[in-house]
Symmetry: C2
Subunit: 342 residues, 2 copies
DNA sequence: ATGAAAGCGCTAACAC
DNA sequence: GTGTTAGCGCTTTCAT
């Protein structure tokens, strides 16, 4: 035997004994599965209530082969974007009686696969959020994780549902916005090297360059958080650019703060754009022009895609590839550039 | 029987068969428990590797009576403070091989007990974060949840460990700071009614009033997020106060934004303080003076307290009541008031 | 050192 | 309609 019977929690057997029926009958009334004599059912319910019996989910999980839990692995729980996704996912899943187990890889790429695998074993499915791992590894991992939902990343081989944002288009629209305001010298403050979404922005900007050969567009290495934006302040000033495309809102906010410290006015002297439209973006001074990603929808849609797979009775997969287009949010951090003395 | 044997994942039985040993032996080598013949052990490990066998955690949990998972229930996952606690908890727990299951009560007080109970059944313990429920209910619930860690809330009867922040002291220091700058008309923008931490601030301010009868201190109803701060802008202006104590940083930021829109300068015309020192606080314009709560420590300490209970071999409880004192973070949103024309 | 078997708490097939 | 029993995948006692 496994454990001694000392101070066990109340189990189905206790209820059965008190109601004078078998385990099976108790199980039946608790789950409302088969038809049970109303009188007996009442007796069982009374016993259960009196003993404050609550079925043990671990036992149920083992018997049913499902845990009613899904896992999510994110690169960094400190990032507002991932927090919002987690929140949307958690709330949507809860509505269907599912819970979520979290795993933070802390941007350690090599941990992602392990965490995802562990999560999958404990859960009925996994959502992988902006995984940093290489394509080959992802391709190999994906089938072992099914049901799987991918966010901000796609797989070609396996047809797992994915949600993505058209960062390339968004950054182009932002650049276009600056140009139409009159800016001719743009700077892109880029994000983490291994970020797929950064690569998409880069591709979008290449496209932009082709369409606007007359515009100067510099690239500056950056990061993904406040501090990287703040640290780039001097490089930005030195660049001579008047329209700055920050990798995301966090970076833009760091930059805003740095420029403010140097006495450079936004948007009078320099225009700054962000990306994501995190909740704080409209409260910066000045409020940030950005490309809004429907971050709350992402989480809830991720759940819907997961649910579709979990409930799938076995027929055709028909995995969806959802792509969101960011929505321009023009606020006060962008304006026409000052007329240059030169 | 429960499920049909169709497409089952690889289990301990498969490894046992392949290695030509019993389940028990496989279990032994997987857990390194009893001494196993090195040759057999190697064979088992080879078989396990070849089959990519990973023990099923649900089966283990049932046998072991533990899940290596803890639950956390928070009132609102959108709140940066709770996000930070969740993050700290998750990272600390992960270091010890534990995962965390989240439950968001969405500020629905009546859901808290249910969510906590469900979480507890699936996990080895629960941390209850700033529960909104009444004292009586908490008192009754606490024993059924053990092991339990309370954050921002204490229980008298049961001796469950709790982590709290001395909000009363923090708000007094903030008020003191404003007074020493020369402010004589203060306003407190209060938080949610059922928030225990709001009550603590109120108590602290009562104390402050006694010590400073010469200072005018008004109370204005507010909330806990950006929008409530923003909405209070006109009321603040109308109040005639020059030193504003916002319930927290979020509220302060909303207010900052509202004041900026009305052309009121901070800190020249009005000084504003926040509370918590969320990551964004030092990037507002102007950077926010606030009382810093060691929010990352809270999460990791919560885990330590939980671990102490889980590992407790049965001896004396000795439950800790940890109280943190906020640290003043004087930045640029507070200054001496302008000399009044009157 | 190893295998057989019991048991963790539950659900469901089967027999009555 | 209800009880009996097998089985979910694992750990651990007990006997060898």
């Amino acid at each position: 035997m496994a454990r001694r019977n000392t101070n066990r929690r109340v189990g189905i057997a206790d209820v059965a004994e008190k109601a004078g029926v078998s385990h099976a009958t108790v199980s039946r009334v608790m789950n409302g599965n088969a038809a049970v004599d109303p009188g007996i059912a009442a007796r069982v319910r009374a016993a259960a209530a009196e003993l404050k019996y609550q079925p043990n989910p671990v036992g149920r999980s083992l018997a049913l082969g499902k845990t009613d839990t899904i896992g999510i692995v994110v690169p960094d729980l400190a990032n507002p974007t991932f927090q919002a996704i987690l929140r949307g996912l958690s709330i949507a899943a809860a509505q269907d009686g599912y819970r979520v187990l979290i795993a933070d890889s802390s941007e350690v790429t090599s941990e992602e696969a392990i965490l995802a695998g562990e999560a999958r074993r404990r859960c009925d499915g996994v959502v992988l959020c902006a995984p940093r791992m290489g394509d080959a590894e992802l391709e190999e991992l994906a089938p072992t994780l099914h049901p799987l939902v991918l966010i901000n990343r796609t797989t070609i081989a396996t047809n797992t549902p994915s949600l993505s944002v058209d960062y390339g288009q968004g950054i182009q629209e932002l650049a276009q916005h600056l140009v139409s305001l009159g800016h001719r010298r743009l700077v892109f403050l880029s994000g983490p090297e291994h970020s797929a979404s950064n690569r998409q922005r880069l591709v979008g900007l290449d496209q932009f360059r082709k369409e606007h050969p007359e515009i100067e567009l510099q690239m500056l290495p950056g990061g993904s958080n406040f501090d990287s934006g703040h640290e780039c302040t001097d490089a930005i000033i030195a660049s001579g650019g008047t329209g700055i495309l920050a990798f995301n809102d966090l970076v833009a906010m760091g930059l805003l703060s740095g420029l403010h410290e140097r006495g450079i006015r936004v948007p009078e002297d320099i225009s700054v754009t962000g990306f994501d439209d995190i909740p704080f973006a409209k409260y910066t001074t000045p409020p940030l022009t950005t490309a809004a990603v429907p971050i709350n929808e992402l989480g809830s849609l991720a759940w819907r895609r997961m649910r579709e797979q979990i409930q799938q009775t076995g027929d055709a997969p028909a995995q969806a590839q959802d792509e969101f287009s960011p929505r321009m949010e023009i606020r006060k951090s962008t304006a026409a550039p000052a007329l240059k003395p030169a």
